[in-house]
Amino acid sequence: MYLYLPVALTSINILIPVGLGLAVGLLSGLFGVGGGFLLTPLLIMFGIPSTVAAATDSNQIVAASTSGTYAHWKVGNVDFKMGLYLLGGGFIGGILGVQAIKLLHAMGNADFVIKITYILMLGIVGVYMFIESLQSMKKNNVEEAKEEKESAVGRFLKALPLQTRFEKSGITHSVFVPIVLGAFVGILAAIMGVGGGFLMVPIMVYMLRMPMHVVVGTSLFQILFTCIEVTFLQAYSNHSVDFILAVLLLLGSTVGAQIGAFFGKKLKAEQLKILLASIVLAVTVKIVFEITLTPSLLLSQVGGH
């Protein structure tokens, strides 16, 4: 059955957005990522204009992350204190990132920087997570390696002022650590035009040393607020949120997020990490192919990647 989308000005088979929503929601509930880096290009592939795809995606992430945050909160896996510090940092980073993009557009090489940042970030995060998770699976070697790393990073982090305890995660950090890291992700997310969940998750795991299950819940909590802000700004300034498309997507994604959260509990942290790493690497390879193979169309709508 087809439905007409009043803002995207196109007609779509309803099974496509519902199915895509379900798949991305599943990833969201499992790994704590919004899934924008996957869903937006897929929607464009199915004929949705790029501006509408990006804006509507953030609208549906509001629903999926509400569903996911709630599911994780019920089992005590959301560190609200850490989430709020990261949000604060992300907000500052977002403002800085938007300025950086303006500067890059003025210099005329914005697209090059965006694409390279995308590949580098996804590639580094994917490879690092993949190797680390493989090593962690071979338990004996890991204990030593982890301890060595923790002591090196730990010494620097403990020297910073305003140390505070994050009870839910069972860690102590200076308040500056999550704020600076949140700002870092915020800058990159603004430059790349994504929510930044796939960057935030590894940062929480490897730099903040939070337990994987708390990471997923806390990341979703943070993504929820970021996407509420983005949805409003997109609807208000660009008129590019398609309400009907968002409803179709969230029909799938809210259910997917619940299923994801359920299966997340069944999987071990290492298995979760290696799965996420594989997806991130697959997306990296796709982008590399995209920019090296001759595209079928050399013109595209203004507003997307």
Binding site: Y4, V62, T66, F243, L298, L299
Partner: protein, 269 residues
């Protein structure tokens, strides 16, 4: 003398009568050849509701049997801004800037009895903007360095539009028949793509003879959103803040709603 004059007068009357009869007969026989070209797009008001997935538009009318036909359906002209891809560092495909296409319709479809290049002279094609070669000359593209670059980007522009199903140029699918009055009637049924945006479209039918347009007729097609589709599109444009809050509100409620359903349905963990 008087009698002779009477006979001459009668002869004149007969000649006049015969001339008139012949003229009337010729006129009657030639009505088909001098038929006025007409055009009527049936299904000329397309409404877009939630279940709209494109439509069909047929154009029919009377035409002269000795002419070829070209049917052009276009939206009003405007300007379009598109991103162009190019190679960076000789190997990476990136967006390398924007191109502005002026005097371009968003929708451009041409149907003809034979290939337009074979039945129309270049001057006539250009004058009436019939066919992609003529549209290429009509369109302005900036910034481009030279004519060669302009031609290359116009070809890409047509490819981009054909991919969205809003540009096409076809020949050989107009059919002819005789109507009840014995006049030649032409007919074409075209698929109307759902990608065509709401608005007014102009249907122009050209009668072509000896590589020239000898007659033309027009009709209109209107595409408009109705009901909830219209209300939502209008709200997104005219009340963006309210539309934003509504979108967020629905997303939050859906997220919580599904959580509740799963909580009740899922039981204890």
């Amino acid at each position: 003398m008087k009698h002779q004059f009477k006979i001459q007068n009668a002869k004149c009357k007969v000649v006049l009568l015969l001339t008139f009869a012949l003229f009337t007969l010729q006129f009657a026989l030639c009505t088909d050849a001098f038929a006025m070209l007409t055009a009527k797009a049936n299904h000329d008001h397309i409404t877009i509701d939630f279940f709209y997935h494109g439509s069909t538009v047929s154009v029919r009318g009377i035409s002269d049997p000795g002419t070829d036909l070209v049917i052009k359906i276009t939206s009003p002209e405007g300007h379009q801004l598109l991103k162009k891809k190019g190679k960076v560092g000789g190997m990476l495909w990136m967006n390398v800037g924007q191109l502005k296409f002026e005097n371009t319709p968003n929708f451009y479809e041409v149907f003809s009895t034979k290939r337009v290049e074979d039945i129309l002279s270049t001057e006539e094609m250009d004058r009436n903007v019939i066919g992609f070669p003529a549209l290429a000359k009509h369109v302005e593209i900036t910034p481009v360095a030279n004519e060669e670059e302009k031609a290359r980007w116009f070809d890409e522009f047509v490819k981009f539009k054909e991919d969205s199903k809003v540009y096409t140029s076809q020949s050989g699918n107009i059919t002819f028949s005789k109507n009840a009055e014995g006049k030649q009637e032409y007919y074409i049924l075209t698929e109307w793509p759902y990608q065509a945006q709401p608005g007014d479209y102009l249907v122009t039918v050209y009668a072509v003879k000896d590589h020239k347009v000898v007659e033309q007729a027009t009709s209109a097609v209107n595409v408009a959103q109705v009901g909830m589709v219209k209300s939502l599109a209008g709200m997104a444009k005219d009340m963006p803040a309210m539309y934003g809050f509504l979108s967020i509100g629905v997303a939050l409620s859906a997220g919580f709603g599904v959580s509740m359903v799963f909580r009740k349905g899922g039981g204890s963990h």
